[in-house]
Each structure stands twice: as structure tokens, then as C-alpha cells.
Symmetry: C2
Subunit: 247 residues, 2 copies
């Protein structure tokens, strides 16, 4: 599935519930800026932390436009899908629990047409039992058993990354074009000449050795710049290898 | 592609170069613990930050076993593939630059047989031109143009998550089994009976309405518990709706 569009990203609400550490509020806003999400909602924050985070640098516009709510119910009332995050694995959950990879697919699908709230609980306790009753489903980041609890800012970044990652992305090629074939041939000929001079290529097996060298040079997949560089080096060596001819 | 195995994860070296902030060293170690990576290497750290991070909580064993190096060359000398991370997009790069999604595929492939170093530069400057010469390739997390610079701890978490994420993961189903068909039928019959009593279902269209109700109940995909709960509610209502029969 392709990644979300900008219009779809505008439909996501990142909701922080009972968060206490200003660094985490700041880190959330920064990750949102990094990945192109804009709407942050904060429920019942520790006021000092919230003010401190707002005055700090990074992700500034996300924080300035953040909305504050007294209750989670109010914060998600205009959303069509509410997904909670949890480190839980075995504890009794009344909602379906999915891995992030799977949950993100549903969130992307829903974002095509409606608002989605992605909820993160407090650093110490996560989401409360009551908070969970507002969630249609829960997601967990695939962390290791026994090391499941992630830093809040890091878990926000991972979730948002999964929403924007593109499964179909192609490798970006080096921008610089390769060397023209003529340059590669000159390089190859110089190398072969040197190898002959120094006795590496022997008359009896010359042809097959020369083919080997030619194939090897092609495998190197040299840039134009590197081909030129290597040619210069080999030319210098050839002068040293055949001092008689050079006179 | 499936995610990496534990043995493969042991072959990754996370390398921090010139890192200054103890919180970032700690956050790196914590993300490594979360996602099952163990080998941290630190190049030329600010000594105070390194000591402070080592004495802090979280990701403790990763930090205790971290190796310290004077130079990046030494830190990656036993690795078969060295991948640098960068927020750069357009600046002149001599290495191939790939998106994380693509680069992670190559890293996973290489981890099947050899050690891979994943390099993160300092908070302020990233990797230096010289650091980059030790990299076979560079990866960038797909952040937004103009908001490319990520928090170090968050970018480590995102990269490690991409390495362990499983593209083929299936939705985890609710563990509790659904209700037996008989329970669904009792529920449906009760609802139909109530709808008749209260005049919602009229004799002329009774059959088609009853079919509608039956299909709707099935669409709800109720758990056994919820089916029982709803049945109880409807039974209670039916007593109130038909006081004469109840006597």
C-alpha cells in the first residue's frame, strides 16, 4: 500500500493523555513535524510541562497549534476511528490488539475518508482502563518480550514513520551518470598493458586473462570521476613500468 | 521479506560518532533493548555524557557492554557493510543515498552472513565528510523537506524498528472464541420478538424485516460474552414490553 497523502495526514489527530515530561511533548511535536503531521491534542497535561514544551524549540508550529482538552472523550469526539497504543501483550484487553504494521494499514485506509485519533498514554502508566474504552482497537509496536516499554517520544516517532513509510519505494540511484564506454575501454587497455609489462599476463593465457580484466572493470560500476581517477593512476604507473619507452 | 532473526540481530553494530547528549546515548541503548539489538559502539564520545548515560536507567545491559573507540575506522574495521545515516537530500554525496525502507532490505540481507555497522553522527553536525568515506552507502529516514532533521534517539528507534518490522504480519485475532450459533439465534429471536411487540416489525413486512435483523446481528461479529450481555438486556426489555405475558 502506498503511503498517505498530505490531505490524509491532516486527518490524523495525535493525542497525548496525562503526559508529564515536557521533553516528551516536545519530542512528539518534533516527530510530527518530521513526518508531516500537524494536529496535536493534549488531554489533561501537567500544566508546567505543557508550558515548558510550548516555549522550547523544535516542532514549534505543531505545539503552537496544539489543542488542549479536559477529557479523552472530548478529544476524540470528532474522530471516526480511535486507536490506542499499548506495550501490553498478555494482559486482559477488551479491544482487539494488533501489531503496528497491521494497525497502520487500517489507519491509512480510514484516513482516506475520515479523522483518526492515535492515542498515547502517560509515561508511567500508559492508557488507563477507562481510556481504553474509547478505543476501537489497540496497537503495539513489536518490541521484545521483557523490554516492551518504549520511551514515549520514540514510540510516537516509530508509529508516525510506519504511517508514512512507502513499501514500494525504489532505490534512489546515484545522480552522477556513469562514464562513457570509451573511458572504460581506455582504462581497461591501460590496465592490461601494465599487467603485460609487469608479467602478470603471460603470452599463453593472454586472451582469457584480458577477458577477465575487462569483465572485472565492468563489475566495478565506476563513476565517470572514478574512472578518470583510476586512468590517471594507471597512466602514471605505466610510465614507471616502462622507463625505456618513455625516453 | 521476513524480519531478522535473533542471530542476525547480534551481527548489527550501532555506532554513535561524536555524540554529546547523555539522553541520546541512553535513548539509543533503550531503543536497542526494545528491538533486540545488543552491540553498541561509541566513537569519541563526550566523556561526561558517556559516564552519565552509563549510570542512568534503561537499556542498562546494552550500555554496560558498549565498546568505546577513538576513531570510526577502528569501530567499523570488522564489519562487512557500513551504512551511514543522514538527513541530507541534495548536498553533494559521494555515496549512494537510499531511503530507509530500501536500505534496510540490504542490511537484513547482509546480516544473514556478516556484521553490519549502522552509523549515527553527532546531534549538531551529523556525520563529517571524513566519516562518510567509511560508509558503503547512506540512508535517510523519509522525513519532510524542510523538517528533515530528526532527534537522534528517535531516528535510532525508527531505523531499528524498520529492521525488525515484519511486512507479512497477520492481524492478531481476539483470543476469546465467538459465541455458538445457538446463542446468536436466541439473541436474534429475542430482538425480533421485542421489535414485534413494540410495533417496529409490522405483519406485512415481517419476513423481510426479520431477515434484515438476522443479517445485522451477524455483522456485529459479537464475542460470546457480548452476545450473552445483549441477550440479558433484551430479555429484561421483553419483560417490560409485555407486562401481561410476564404475569
Amino acid at each position: 500500500m502506498a503511503s498517505v497523502s498530505t490531505a490524509e495526514q491532516q486527518r490524523l489527530r495525535v493525542v497525548l493523555v496525562d503526559v508529564r515530561n515536557p521533553l516528551n511533548i516536545g519530542a512528539t511535536a518534533r516527530a510530527m513535524s518530521n513526518f508531516g503531521f500537524t494536529h496535536l491534542r493534549v488531554v489533561n497535561p501537567y500544566e508546567v510541562a505543557y508550558r515548558e514544551a510550548r516555549s522550547a524549540m523544535g516542532g514549534a508550529s505543531v505545539l503552537q497549534e496544539a489543542e488542549e482538552f479536559k477529557t479523552l472523550a472530548e478529544a476524540v469526539s470528532d474522530c471516526h476511528l480511535v486507536v490506542g497504543t499499548t506495550g501490553a501483550r498478555k494482559r486482559e484487553l477488551d479491544q482487539p490488539l494488533e501489531r503496528l504494521e497491521q494497525s497502520a494499514k487500517k489507519i491509512r485506509t480510514q484516513l482516506a475518508g475520515g479523522r483518526v485519533a492515535l492515542i498515547f498514554g502517560s509515561e508511567k502508566f500508559g492508557l488507563s482502563k477507562e481510556d481504553l474504552t474509547y478505543c476501537h482497537s489497540l496497537l503495539r509496536i513489536p518490541t521484545l518480550e521483557g523490554h516492551a516499554s518504549m520511551n514515549l517520544g520514540q514510540s510516537v516517532a516509530v508509529c508516525l514513520y510506519e504511517l508514512v513509510r512507502d513499501a514500494k519505494v525504489k532505490a534512489m540511484k546515484r545522480v552522477a551518470p556513469g562514464p562513457p564506454v570509451g573511458a572504460i575501454d581506455r582504462l581497461t587497455d591501460l590496465l592490461i598493458q601494465n599487467l603485460r609489462t609487469c608479467g602478470y599476463i603471460k603470452p599463453l593465457t593472454a586472451t582469457s586473462m584480458e577477458h577477465k580484466v575487462r569483465r572485472m572493470i565492468r563489475r566495478l560500476d565506476l563513476s565517470a570521476h572514478d574512472a578518470e581517477l583510476l586512468t590517471g593512476m594507471l597512466r602514471q604507473m605505466s610510465w614507471k613500468l616502462r622507463p625505456d619507452d618513455a625516453e
